[in-house]
Each structure stands twice: as structure tokens, then as C-alpha cells.
């Protein structure tokens, strides 16, 4: 593995680590809200990753203005993509949270183990 390249691509490495952290949280934590937080960490890590792709050295915001050459602008596509991605993430979180509300109302707990244990009515 090329470590210098990896160091150069630090954003990517960090986002991969965040992704794994999020995944760990989702799988291991028993609390449903914590699972959701883990999910959000994963989402954010992917956004970080995507935005980092579009970055260029000394880049400017991709807005046409005086004195900014097009070659200096950062890639606008990733920004557009994560805009969509954020909305998707928000939507998923909203649905998940409302599920949590209902689960708490019905089971009286948010602990995954307890919920599984009380599965049978």
C-alpha cells in the first residue's frame, strides 16, 4: 500500500474510518437512537468523501464572477450530488425517528435487545 498517497488523500482515509465507525455503532450499539446516530455518521462520511473528490488545489467556489477562471473552480457535481444526498439522509432519518417514536410508544423502550425479547405479544 502506498502510504504517502494515502496521507495525501487524508480526507478519503478519514471518511473511510468514519464510515467504519458509523457501521460499528449501527451494528453493536443496542440503543436505537445510537444506531441512528451511527447511520448519520456513515452518511456524513460519505458526503465528506464525495465533496473531497471535487476539491482542487487552491480552488474557488464554482460561481461565475469577475477574476475567477473556470479552471480554478472546484468540481460542482459532487456538491450538487451531496445536496441531494443530504436531503435523502434527512428523509431517512426522519422516517427512522418516527419509527423510533412509535417503537418507544409501543414497547416502552428503545433497547434493541429488549425489543427483540418482547417480540411475541
Amino acid at each position: 500500500m502506498n502510504f504517502s498517497r494515502m496521507f495525501h488523500n487524508l480526507n478519503y482515509v478519514v471518511s473511510a474510518l468514519l464510515f467504519l465507525m458509523g457501521l460499528y455503532t449501527v451494528v453493536v450499539k443496542p440503543n436505537l437512537i445510537k444506531k441512528l446516530i451511527g447511520l448519520n455518521i456513515m452518511e456524513t462520511s460519505v458526503f465528506l468523501f464525495i465533496v473531497s473528490i471535487g476539491m482542487v488545489e487552491g480552488g474557488e467556489a464554482p460561481i461565475v464572477a469577475e477574476g475567477v477562471k473556470s479552471s480554478q473552480m472546484v468540481n460542482p457535481i459532487p456538491q450538487a450530488l451531496i445536496l441531494t444526498g443530504i436531503v435523502v439522509a434527512v428523509s431517512t432519518t426522519a422516517v427512522a425517528l418516527s419509527l423510533c417514536l412509535k417503537i418507544h410508544e409501543r414497547y416502552g423502550t428503545l433497547n434493541a435487545a429488549e425489543i427483540l425479547g418482547r417480540g411475541e405479544p
Binding site: M1, N2, R5, M6, H8, N9, L10, N11, Y12, V13, A16, L17, F19, L20, L23, Y24, V27, V28, S52, I53, G54, M55, V56, E57, G59, A61, P62, I63, V64, A65, S70, S71, M73, N75, P76, I77, P78, Q79, A80, L83, T84, I86, V87, V88, V90, S91, A94, V95, L97, S98, L99, L101, K102, H104, E105, R106, Y107, G108, T109, E114
Partner: protein
């Protein structure tokens, strides 16, 4: 045991990701594939073709307008999902208690919110939405701020007050403005014989065409902004309502 297994799996996935990252194009490089393939055209002709100084806006609304339409559909689905799960509040005001928590926010908070609220709304609509094509911002960002303003208001004055100010019958039509805006603009183009979501009308050229396009895109931006904002508001309202419902415990707490 379980944790160890999970960690092991994560290690494998992590190794795989790091391997890929190690082989990826260097960050910040101008020669990476994503900067040399599609982008130059966007950056060079973006303003002219995309119809916006802010090229992100151009990409969102024009080049990839279909995605954005999908995106507003996602959030609309989320709204439907949430209210389908949580039962929407009834029309009109059925709750007698002004604030179920029983705690009123302090005078300072309420005063500040009262003053700040119109400013936030103005910022959202005027700057973010209408001006989005030439500066950072856009419909969604404006919508988010709009939603946030109402949420702040709600936190300060309580849900009944907000629902009184923004009753359901106002929100329901507004929720769909985003999609309706998109569709309407798309169909106008279609009716004139160009492809869906093409903001150009045949027979209109030059500066006039630019104006038409700007107009159409602005309509969509505002639609997204208001629609998105109201959807956020509705989702939050639905959840808050549920919160209160829960405080009257009909289920034994553990």
C-alpha cells in the same frame, strides 16, 4: 464475542476501502478523471447553458434537473412516510392545553424570536431562494432555513400557536409546491415540443430566452424552497405532536 466478530468484519472492509483509497487519484489534483471529463464544459459554458452564475445551481436544476426532481420526491416520500406512521394532526385546533410541557419559554427568548423570525424568513426567501442562481444558496438551503425559522418559533411559542398560524389547510397545498413547480415547468417545455425539463421555449431567442429560462428556474427554486420548508415543518409538527401524545402514558414505562 459478537463485538470481536464485528470488529473483524470491519477490519476486512476497512482494509478493502483503504486499499482502494491508496489507489485513488490524488486529492486536489487537476488531472483526476472527474476534473477532465464532464466538468470543463459545465465550468466553461455553465453560465450560458445552465442559466445560472452559480454553477452548482445550474447543475442541480438544469443538467441534472431530473435528479433534483427525484430529490424533492424523496423528501415528499419522507413526509408521507412520517405522517403515515405518526398520524397527522387533525384539522383545526383540538388541543385545549396551550403548551403541554407546562413550561413557557422566557420573555427574552420569545421577544428575540419574535424579532428574528421575519428576518430569517426574509433571508431565506429573498437571499437564498431568489438569489440562489448567482451566489451560494438555492432552493433547498432556503427551504431548510425557512423550516428552521418556524421550528424556532414553535420552540418558543409552542406547537398550538404555530399550528394556529400555519394551519393544515395552508400547509397541505404548499407541501406539493416543489413537485408541482417542477412538473409545471417541465410540462411547459414538453408542450412546446422540447424535452422535459428543458427551460427553453422554441421560437424565443437571445436575451428573451435567457429571461424565460431565469424565470422558470426561479419558479422552481421558490417552489423547492417553500415546498421543502413546509415539508420539514410538517414532519417536525407530526413528531412533536407525537411527543406530547406520548407524555400521557398509556403504555407502562419500563
Amino acid at each position: 464475542m459478537r463485538k470481536a466478530a464485528v470488529l473483524g468484519a470491519l477490519l476486512i472492509i476497512g482494509a478493502m476501502l483503504l486499499f482502494a483509497i491508496g489507489k485513488m487519484p490524488a486529492m486536489n489534483s487537476r488531472n483526476a478523471p472527474d476534473k477532465t471529463h464532464v466538468i470543463p464544459r459545465y465550468l466553461e459554458k455553465g453560465e450560458e447553458e445552465g442559466g445560472a452564475k452559480n454553477i452548482v445551481t445550474g447543475v442541480i436544476l438544469n443538467y441534472r434537473g431530473y435528479d433534483t426532481m427525484g430529490e424533492v420526491t424523496v423528501i415528499f416520500s419522507a413526509l408521507c412516510a412520517v405522517v403515515a406512521l405518526l398520524d397527522r394532526e387533525k384539522r383545526g385546533l383540538s388541543r385545549s392545553s396551550p403548551d403541554a410541557s407546562g413550561v413557557r419559554s422566557s420573555v427574552i427568548v420569545r421577544t428575540v424570536v419574535r424579532f428574528a423570525f421575519p428576518v430569517i424568513v426574509f433571508f431565506a426567501v429573498a437571499y437564498m431562494m431568489l438569489h440562489g442562481e448567482g451566489s451560494p444558496g438555492g432552493g433547498f438551503q432556503g427551504g431548510a432555513i425557512l423550516g428552521a425559522s418556524v421550528i424556532v418559533f414553535t420552540l418558543a411559542f409552542g406547537l398550538p400557536e404555530s399550528t394556529r398560524r400555519m394551519p393544515l389547510k395552508v400547509r397541505i397545498p404548499l407541501e406539493s409546491t416543489a413537485i408541482v413547480g417542477f412538473l409545471a415547468m417541465g410540462i411547459i417545455g414538453l408542450a412546446y415540443g422540447v424535452n422535459f425539463l428543458t427551460y427553453l421555449l422554441p421560437g424565443v431567442h437571445g436575451a428573451m430566452a435567457q429571461t424565460v429560462r431565469n424565470l422558470m428556474m426561479t419558479v422552481i427554486e421558490v417552489g423547492i424552497g417553500i415546498g421543502g420548508g413546509v415539508i420539514f415543518i410538517s414532519i417536525v409538527f407530526a413528531m412533536m405532536r407525537e411527543d406530547k401524545y406520548e407524555l400521557q402514558p398509556d403504555v407502562p414505562q419500563p
